[in-house]
Amino acid sequence: MHEEALLRDLRRELLEVARRERVDRITRVRLRVGALCHVSPETLRSRWRELVADTPARDAALEIESSPDPRDSRAQDVVLADVVVEEPGSGTPPTSA
């Protein structure tokens, strides 16, 4: 029911991280997905490329840690845990989208 809003919010936060850290390229994104949250890992994976297509995370590898435990205190949450960014001017130019 709330997949779209969650995905858009994740996208917004990725853009914010890139802006705050002044990076052009995010190479890895790790999400933690609770057992009772509103979006399944399958939905996240299938929508991911489209979601990040025009962001610095467009080539990023997506890692999803999903917890099967409904009693976990974060069972209802989708958390953007961490991202790996390429230091500006340090590597290969970003591939075009």
């Binding site: 029911m1 997949e3 969650l6 858009r8 919010d9 936060e13 850290e21 953007l80 845990a81 230091e87």
Partner: protein, 431 residues
């Protein structure tokens, strides 16, 4: 290539999203579209096949701010279908529960969403830095409303003690008496709130609304009364569909409601107040008079004052109900067995305006059809009309100023997307 890992730990949030497309041609506003992306939620579809007794708990999940409204409309619609009448203390307790919801919902909107607009802060957190007392008052009021919801509903959000026919358990006299101190304090705070917000600077912006609300022979309306409008409509509340229809528009996932053969209309505090000013409680009426608030308010920015007056009313009404309360013999009226297909509909006054439910039931009590028309979908077209007028008067503003002006105009009506309109995406096309 060097890389570094940034720990973010960001919790993704679920919020509605709004976008606004405005097309201006030759200094004339050609198009205003309020786009709501929230996907359909299919509540009406998944009520089908469920027992009628489940409807109050299922529909409560539609909203975390006004679950009581959904429970009340569902219960009254089912009771009409089943030919049940709920009177006396159970009827009064339902009103008391609704008072709790009006108080918490209005306090939330006034202090955390609406007041920052008038005082020049982007949100309530920034407002709290400079006006900590104001935000504290708001939270205290909200707490008083929540306490009523917890006592009568079992918990503040998505209460679990409401059933078709009444309640699962009714409070004792002593339990209700225990609410008095916080409600008396809330009443004083509500009056202070009304005086505080009435001092804000209001843009000069009067609009020709058609107001629609319930009207009861003797009460400020919550659960009962006819459907009336400021342009002469008066029909029984279960015949909502005779006068109003929902239409689908290509630019929004949310249905829009219109008057049949007419245009937009407004529901909510401004409408309720304009059509029921003479039904306000003594102190609510006195505070409105003291502040020079006329019986009909057509400036949407002043809805913040009307909301405050409705909190005064809800506190006063709650205290009246508590004073007169005698616990009922049984916490609910028993439902008769269902032997033939029946239909029932009801409209009640959610904090944001009228909420219509209609159900068709088949023996032994299965819902075969459900229809729910929420206040925000009814106001959506009217909000577009407000925005059209606002943009026409604000053609010289730059993009940032115009976006903020539009966000404010939307927040005037406390739509379910009000938190999201802080992220309003304005697409302005000038050609």
């Amino acid at each position: 290539m060097s890389e570094r890992t940034i720990s973010v730990n960001y919790l993704a949030r679920v919020e509605g999203e709004g976008a606004l497309r405005v097309r201006i041609h030759d200094r004339s506003v050609e198009e205003v579209e309020l786009r709501i992306f929230e996907p359909p939620r299919f509540f009406e579809a998944f009520l089908r096949g469920r027992g009628y007794a489940e409807a109050p708990d299922i529909t409560a999940r539609i909203c975390g701010i006004c679950p009581v409204a959904y429970q009340m409309s569902a219960c009254h619609a089912m009771e009409r279908a089943l030919g049940m009448t709920v009177e006396g203390p159970i009827r009064e307790l339902r009103r008391l529960l609704y008072c709790g919801e009006w108080i918490e919902s209005h306090a939330l909107h006034i202090y955390l969403l609406h007041a920052p607009d008038f005082l020049g802060y982007p949100d309530a957190i920034r407002l709290a830095e400079h006006h900590p007392e104001a935000v504290k008052h708001g939270l205290e009021l909200k707490k008083a409303g929540n306490a009523l919801m917890r006592l009568l509903g079992g918990r503040e959000i998505h209460p679990i003690n409401v059933r078709v026919g009444g309640f699962y358990r009714c409070p004792s006299r002593e339990e209700l008496d225990g609410m008095r101190p916080s409600l008396e304090a809330a009443l004083a705070l509500a009056e202070e709130t009304a005086r505080f917000v009435a001092g804000f600077d209001f843009p000069d912006f009067e609009l020709p609304y058609e107001f629609v609300s319930l009207r009861h022979p003797s009460e400020y309306p919550m659960n009962e009364g006819d459907l009336v409008s400021s342009r002469g409509l008066r029909i029984p509340q279960d015949r909502f569909e005779e006068a109003f229809e929902e239409v689908q528009v290509p630019h929004s996932h949310a249905l829009q409601a219109v008057r049949k053969g007419g245009g937009s209309y407004l529901v909510g505090p401004l409408a309720r107040y304009a059509l029921n000013h003479d039904r306000l409680s003594p102190r609510a009426k006195a505070v409105a008079g003291e502040l020079g608030l006329p019986p009909v308010v057509t400036n949407p920015y002043r809805s913040i004052v009307v909301r405050a007056i409705e909190i005064v009313y809800a506190c006063e009404e709650a205290l009246r109900i508590i004073d007169q309360y005698r616990p009922p013999g049984a916490p609910s009226v028993p439902a008769p067995p269902l032997t033939a297909p029946v239909s029932g509909a009801a409209t009640t006054e959610a904090p944001r305006g009228i909420l219509f439910h209609r159900y068709r039931l088949e023996p032994p009590g299965t819902i075969v059809d459900a229809r729910i028309v929420a206040p925000t979908s009814q106001n959506q077209k009217r909000i577009e009309d407000d925005l059209r007028e606002l943009v026409a008067r604000s053609l010289d503003l730059d993009q940032e100023a115009l976006t903020f002006a539009c966000e404010r105009a939307i927040r005037n009506h406390d739509p379910c997307i009000s938190c999201a309109t802080h992220f309003l995406n304005l697409e302005l096309v000038r050609d």
